[in-house]
Amino acid sequence: MKNETLYTLADVTRTYQVGSATVRALSEASCTIQRGEMVSIEGPSGSGKSTLLLLLGVLETPSSGTLEFKGTDLRTTSDEVQTAIRRDSIGYVFQQFNLIPTLTAQENVLLPMMPVAGKNSDKQERAGALLEQVGLGHRISHLPGSLSGGEQQRVAIARALANRPDVIIADEPTGNLDSASAQGIMDLLAHLNEEEHVTIIIATHDPAIAKRTTRHIIMRDGRLLEDQAAPAS
């Protein structure tokens, strides 16, 4: 379990057509990510971090190369299968939080559970428990607009945890937060990784955030430059 391979990337390339020019957002990326890892992907803007995260989040498919998630080749799977993987196995956390502004914290956490069978009361109970877990037990009925940035990101993390994912993918999760809130979020993610064994993949250009992870993948111009595993503890 601990050593199960979640992602296998082999020469994964992603190109985008921007007008007449073909932009190579990710070039021949190869690596594997094991369950339980806490990985940071570092690099300046435009280095391909977001593209890599979209591919890992099964929101994007590679233009070429092989990308496997738990042994499933994501290039050839149908939209339905990809949707199911996103729903059941991946929790995505955005820099902008992306909470639904018209729904309360609890309702936002309930959203990923809507496509899943189950009793509504159980789901509500779980949503409450998750908010409790991220430290927002007292704010479950608040609308996102009345929450601080850090609180909104905690709701987003609770939402990402809703369907007990294998991995949480966080794209600049602290980018819009002050450093205190950012540390709080990082504490939470580190805690989830350590206690719940949730695999965490964080894209960031902030060394202070990257320092909190155990593996650092450095990117430049769409390529994976360095892949340093922290010394095993």
């Binding site: 977001s50 979209l54 989040g57 929101l59 994007e60 939209d79 339905e80 949707t83 199911a84 996103r86 729903r87 059941d88 991946i90 929790g91 995505y92 955005f94 902008q96 992306n98 639904i100 502004p101 018209t102 729904l103 309702e107 309930l110 959203l111 990923p112 809507m114 496509p115 509504n120 789901k123 509500q124 609308l143 939402r159 990402a160 809703a162 369907n163």
Partner: protein, 600 residues
Amino acid sequence: MSTFQYIRRELMRRRGRTLTTAFGFAAGVSLVVSIMGVASGLATAQNRLLSPLSTVGTDIIVTRTVGATTTPSPSASPSPGTPTQGNGPGERQGGFFAGGGSAISSLNAKDQAALLQSNDSVLTDLSKLGPPGTQFTHDFFVPGTLITFPSQAVANITSIPGVTGAVGALSLQGVHDTGTVPKIVATFTTGGQTQTVTSAPPPLTAAQQAQVRSCLFQQIQSQQASSPSPSPSQGSSRSSGTGGGFRGGPGGGDFNSVLAKCLPPSYLKYQQQVVTPIRTVQQIVNPPQTNLNTKSYTVAGVNPSVRNQGVITAAQVVSGTWFTASPKDEVLVDEAYATTNSLKAGSTVQLNGTTFHVVGIVAPTLTGNVSDLYFDLATLQSMATQPGRINEIFVSAKSASQVNAIAAAIHTKLPGAQILTAKSLADGVTGSLADAHTLATSLGTALAIVILLGSFLIAILLTISNVNKRIREIGSLRAMGWSRGRVVKQLLGETITISVLGGILGIALGFAICGIIDATGPALQATTSGLAVGASTLGSIFGQSSTASSISTVHVTAPLSLPILLLGFGAAVCGGIIAGAVGGWRASRLSPASALRNLG
């Protein structure tokens, strides 16, 4: 949390946008509902007012108008009580068709003759109305273009299978004349007679005889003395005593002149023959009358015992009563005519010296058969000197499907009959009501469609704009494992809910608009063609306007029926589905990554 809750949250917490979109739908729905309501109101008005045959218990009206060639009509024969006159300047006939030449000349010769003859029968010498120079008031009744026929035709039609009832009526043009009784121009010839006058003078007295004798003796002597050869015959004739033999003797001094000198003066006047001269006297006492004042109106004779079928029915009595058991001196008055002439139930009307009691005021439907006054048929027949004659028959059929067959049978039985069915009458309707109805049905439908499409378009654009604003939200939903279908369902659900709201709002608005239309009730007019309006047609021949107008004003109503409301509501929901589907399709087309990347 269910999809529905999510929808509710979305709509409740984005109230402004929800209401804007809903009002977009509501505007479309309310306009469509109103237009349909008005169209339906106009259709109802037209059906009620313009297909009125059914309201008078009639499916077919049979008339015999000019234009129909048929067996010679004895109706033209004048009745004894109405002498027809020669062409004197006092006659009204000279001016009768003067103004209406075009109307008459458009008919064929046979019809012209029939029409003239028919109307001729009631022309009356005005000089018969009183001593010349006195004021008179008189009412004439002419059948107009509706030629009369014997009331036997009613029985003929009743015998046709499928006919449940037939009742005859006599619709006439009344002409109310007031003026001065004219003096008739007299033409006569005098003279040419031979007169014989015989006189017997008294015998001569003895003294006169002696005087004559001596006178004669002297005269003869004086003549013989001056004459060389006295005629021997003169002596013998001297004793005859008669004047005949004494003429001109060649000698010059004849016996006559001698006698004349000697006879007493009374004997000089004797037997004489007189021949009067022949001369023609034509004396126009008065120029042709110029003060004739004519008012025309329409009258109809109805069978008082038939209350539910005919020109007028008991159901159309708005005040007063229907004819009583003794209808001879009773009259029903049209509402409009009663208003103009200040008549009401209980008033009296004078016609040719007879007093008629107004028993009821009636409101006839908009047929061509609107008359001002309704009399008992027999009474009008005798007033109009048309005994036993009618010019309209109102026929009811067992079922509407039999109307055509019955019409054909009537044509066979009564050649030349003019047959009017509800359909042909409605076709003859013109005026703003008919225009508005046409407008509402054709242009109104087009307008409704345009408005619907417009409101759909607005709803679609609002939905798309909504989708564009929520691309990040859609991307997040996709990222957390929502399928395309679920995203589309969510957006569709929202839009349909808005459209349902819009539909409800629109129906409420539609009710309000229709309520305003009902309250203000714009007036429209309907005019029936002159097809059945025999009397009025004649009125135009006379150049006179009839007070019995075939123009009717109706107020537009916009009744809302369940189908109209359902249609409006359904249209809104359809619009919602289309808008939601378009918006959803746009949303689902976005890949999750591009939806998220759009954030920049």
